[in-house]
Subunit: 203 residues, 3 copies
Amino acid sequence: MLLDALELVGIAAFAASGAVAAVRARLDVFGVIVLALTTALGGGIIRDVLLGVHPPAALVSWPYLAVAGVTGLVVFWFHPTVAKLRRAVLLLDAIGLGLFVTAGTTTALGLGAPPYAACLVGMTTGIGGGALRDVLLREIPLVLRREIYAVAALCGAVVVAFGDYLGLPAVPVTLVGSVVIVGLRLLALWRRWNAPVARKLDG
Amino acid sequence: MLLDALELVGIAAFAASGAVAAVRARLDVFGVIVLALTTALGGGIIRDVLLGVHPPAALVSWPYLAVAGVTGLVVFWFHPTVAKLRRAVLLLDAIGLGLFVTAGTTTALGLGAPPYAACLVGMTTGIGGGALRDVLLREIPLVLRREIYAVAALCGAVVVAFGDYLGLPAVPVTLVGSVVIVGLRLLALWRRWNAPVARKLDG
Amino acid sequence: MLLDALELVGIAAFAASGAVAAVRARLDVFGVIVLALTTALGGGIIRDVLLGVHPPAALVSWPYLAVAGVTGLVVFWFHPTVAKLRRAVLLLDAIGLGLFVTAGTTTALGLGAPPYAACLVGMTTGIGGGALRDVLLREIPLVLRREIYAVAALCGAVVVAFGDYLGLPAVPVTLVGSVVIVGLRLLALWRRWNAPVARKLDG
């Protein structure tokens, strides 16, 4: 119940990040909605395609579609206001990341994937939508370049897989995994942590 | 029979649009053929991956492959002529869009997808190939930026889903849906309709 | 046994090419590892998604993941040295291409795909990872622009499909197909063969 409500919050946050990026790229209203849908639902669709869930849950669940689409429209109309809410959007995005990654990992484990595969699938669920957003807008995916994003996702996925390995109950494990992700992500934003970059090539 | 022939026309039109874009991007002959195949067959492959049809029909059907590949070769050799046929290519592309979207929606409904999911899958079938083409050539997908393209696709998909809901026979419904798409698309091109773009951001 | 070992060599070579490209694009250490994994495993994942193998073998096989990830890390630390090994990387990449294409074609045939579909799937297995790498780094895929790469892959795939059609034993056919690919690829590099490009458009 609470997790379901939080998941819709995460979808709205992901949709908002896609829509804001689309508005900045001067897409029309339809492009903005498509980007909102793609960013919010893309990770889950990739997960279901990898795991063989047909058709993908994100396409069959109308609340997901409605929340993502309406968020896209709202951003289109009120985007100067949304642009000012940058901190709120980052917070919601961290919550969405936490829930998507842990839900993806749990789904993969439930379908019999080995733990390391489940972690990869869970991470992909969380970061796939944003990567699609950036590829469609012709950017190198942010997740590959900035701050501790995918690492936070991976840590949470490992927590869920380890909890499952120990036979702990699923709901608290999912919550702890989500909190780890949200916490690491906010810490990284707050302290401006970045992963190291290789020394520059001379040639 | 007529629908099958029209579908091959649509594939040739999509293949031509991919090949023309590839020639403009200075790809070699093989790249031109790959772009022709990807643009013509990409939407159907995405549809089959989402719906769990393995292997995708587009890879198993040699007439599709042959038509798309030969179209790519023809464009490579005669592209200055093809470039002059811009209006004919746009007309064929509209017909291809109409047939791909309605066929995709019908396929999804037949596999038991709910109506809104079938509409999304149908739309994706129609616009997916062109989106792949633009991503491979490092463009922001045209469908997100220009004219009434995806909206026309969505309207036709809704017609098909609604007709199916009312229990109307499939062939006339598919035809009406295709006519709606082709009509909207040509109207949009003729009247230079575009969807609205958000006001410019100051910051 | 020998084929398995060679396959790991191919994965390491593909991972190295992804990691070198990521270092050049100034990604952080995590982005370098993700690019290494994507380049090395992407082709196989696309193959399994097309053929309906869930979850994809590349995600379930820990040696693949370990070799690709460690290669990414090694390149991150020693990339000036790796950059000097360009010839060795190209040789390993050709071996990887040969093994991936023939393995992909064999897998598709084993799952009942018709020969031309199996050739396309095999070719996609070999060139898909590199195409993903280039799309993520916002490049037009190299395979579409340069040298005899996809053509070599296609020739090897046809050898495997034809051998299968004749009922020849799988292991020698796979070896011959791989040798054809590696040979064509090295010849193309050595003689600087390129496929023809269309005459320039005036307009």
